[in-house]
């Protein structure tokens, strides 16, 4: 059990948090890990708060419950910070990664005294610069890989290149932008 990492994603319907959790599961699977990737299904509508989960382990995973004490939390949309208890159960030895441009004082005020590490990244800017559109999930995926150290940057980049080739087989023009978003995100995720 010590070898298992548990991750909880908070996003809004339509932002790709579920897809990001599945991509993360894929990437970890490709490096030989045992994985789970599952969303918590509720009323599915654009903009509604959604939660998704990952378990990543070196041994088979048998637990089949939601995750209540995650090692890491990823917040894809910072407007959730005031309405969802994003640090609930989050281990202090772990970290929270937030897609935001808000300052440290604001984040401290909304994170209810969370004592673990807080990382931020401007996934909007990264996505718009690289893709011309706002898809926060790809930069956030890179950020969690970097912070959790599930795999090396090189392994991750190599794997994503492969999966984008497969995923975007019918629109290869977006592969380069997505790779650029990932490369930038790996560099720009910062601890505050």
């Amino acid at each position: 059990m010590e070898n298992m990492i548990e991750i909880r994603w908070h996003g809004r319907g339509g932002q790709g948090a579920k897809t990001a959790s599945l991509l993360l599961a894929d990437a970890a699977f490709n490096t030989g890990k045992y994985i789970q990737g599952f969303p918590e299904y509720g009323p599915e509508r654009m903009g509604a708060p959604i939660t998704a989960y990952n378990r990543i382990s070196t041994s088979p995973i048998r637990l089949h419950s939601n995750i209540y004490e995650p090692d890491y939390v990823v917040v894809v949309d910072d407007t959730l910070l005031e309405s969802v208890d994003v640090t609930a159960g989050l281990k202090e030895s772990g970290a929270i990664i937030i897609n935001t441009t808000r300052d440290a004082d604001y984040l401290k005020s909304v994170l209810k005294g969370y004592k673990g590490a807080v990382y931020t990244i401007d996934a909007r800017k990264i996505s718009v610069d690289a893709l011309g559109k706002y898809f926060p999930n790809t930069p956030m995926l890179a950020a969690i890989v970097k912070v959790s150290n599930i795999m090396s940057d090189e392994e991750f980049l190599e794997d994503m290149k492969g999966s984008f080739k497969h995923k975007f087989a019918k629109k290869p023009e977006v592969i380069e932008g997505n790779m650029k978003a990932i490369e930038t995100a790996l560099k720009e995720v910062k601890k505050i």
């Binding site: 059990m1 894929d26 045992y34 994985i35 995973i61 048998r62 089949h64």
Partner: protein, 393 residues
């Protein structure tokens, strides 16, 4: 051996169906099983299978089309959940009484009402007395493996009964997990071709299927169904043994997890068994002799074998993910306890109804059950055998 993959339970079930390549698949979409016919229809469009895919207008029609296809001499499959199964109800009994070995993937979900799309076992429990063989699956791997074994069991000449493979809606149907797939050609060889003895499209033997059956013979035909269900036990054991030779994965009527020297035991089905194994390991580290009996074959019910496997423990908790609303206890509890009673096994046994309508079942919940069992062993008393956990206070 095998192919390392990561798939959801629904994807795994659809891929099993692709490898089986049945003659007919007839289905109507319903959450959480929708993805199975959805993926399968892609296989049909891509020419990966030569199945006749019938996009019917209701589940009643889905089961009717499967009945027609099987009666004609074909191999038919479908997938459904909850209210979809409810709408099939009339035809569910027709399928089993006509002895048609249809295979269904049943992705378990709460039957309305009130309306709920999430997991419990109320849909499966509704057909427990309908004459279908029912196999339960802890995870995507077991859902896949059970489907690969299904036709061999259902179509066996001593059985000829329809079969449902159950898995937990969303919890395993929509969770991506590691899985080991079997190579296409090995599945093809294992499943074999269907050679029905009697079928409508056989011009050399004109027969009628499904005529009126009144006082003179219906009883005997029902007795034959019961005989077939009893005979299914040996066939399930034989097919599972062959499957183990193929894959190395061992399947019995039930899985005994650290049960042989256990003092307290939980009996449950589907995904909860995985969570329970984690708790058993944690308790064992603390010196608590906890064990698990995970029921795989729910119909036919291995009453004698279960009673024997539980005979040495000091207290048992049976977990039901469906409330029978009978003021006496859940369906699995009743089967387990009556099996114990008639086989002279008298161990204090309690029932917990849990996880209704998708209420999450946590390791903490399972720890609570084992701790209640320890209390029962200590006090020697099991007051109120009909209990709940996970219910809001």
């Amino acid at each position: 051996m095998g192919i390392r993959e990561r798939l959801s339970g629904n994807e795994a079930s659809a891929i099993a169906m692709k490898q089986i390549n049945p003659d007919v698949v007839a289905a109507f979409p319903i959450t959480p099983s929708t993805e199975i016919p959805q993926y399968f229809s892609t296989f049909v469009s891509n020419g990966d299978v030569d199945t006749e895919f019938v996009a019917v207008e209701s589940e009643h029609s889905a089961m009717s089309a499967c009945i027609g296809a099987e009666a004609a001499g074909g191999r038919a499959m479908t997938a459904t959940s909850a209210n979809g199964l409810s709408l099939m109800w009339e035809m569910i009994y027709v399928a089993s009484s006509l002895r048609l070995p249809i295979v269904m993937s049943l992705v378990n979900r709460a039957v309305s009402g009130p309306l709920n799309i999430h997991n419990d076992h109320s849909d499966a429990m509704g057909i427990r007395d309908s004459g279908w063989i029912m196999l339960f699956s802890e995870n995507n791997q077991e859902a896949y493996d059970n489907l690969i074994m299904a036709h061999r069991i259902a179509e066996h000449k001593d059985v000829r009964l329809p079969l449902a493979v159950c898995q937990d809606g969303f919890i395993t149907s929509h969770s991506i997990e590691n899985i080991e797939l079997i190579e296409d050609e090995k599945v093809k060889e294992f499943v074999g071709t269907y050679k029905p003895e009697h079928y409508l499209l056989n011009r050399k033997e004109p027969i009628a299927i499904g005529p009126l059956d009144l006082q003179s013979y219906l009883f005997e035909h029902k007795y034959q169904q019961a005989e077939a269900m009893r005979a299914a036990k040996k066939v399930i054991a034989d097919v599972s043994a062959d499957f183990e030779k193929l894959t190395g994965r061992k399947y019995s009527f039930f899985e005994e997890y650290r049960l042989d020297d256990a003092e307290i035991a939980i009996v449950c089905m589907n995904s909860t068994a995985g969570t329970t194994k984690v708790v058993v390991d944690e308790l064992r580290e603390q010196g608590v002799k906890a064990g698990l009996l995970k029921v795989r074959v729910f119909r036919p019910f291995p009453a004698e074998e279960i009673a024997k496997a539980l005979s040495h423990v000091k207290a048992v908790a049976v977990l039901d993910k469906s409330d029978s609303l009978n003021a006496a206890g859940g369906a699995l509890f009743e089967d387990v306890t009556s099996g114990m009673y008639v086989n002279n096994v008298h161990v204090p046994t309690v029932n917990y109804v849990y996880g209704i309508g998708g209420r999450d079942t946590t390791a903490k919940d399972i720890h609570g059950v084992y701790s209640d069992l320890q209390e029962i062993v200590k006090s020697g008393k099991a007051d109120n055998p009909y209990r709940y956990f996970g219910l809001r206070k």
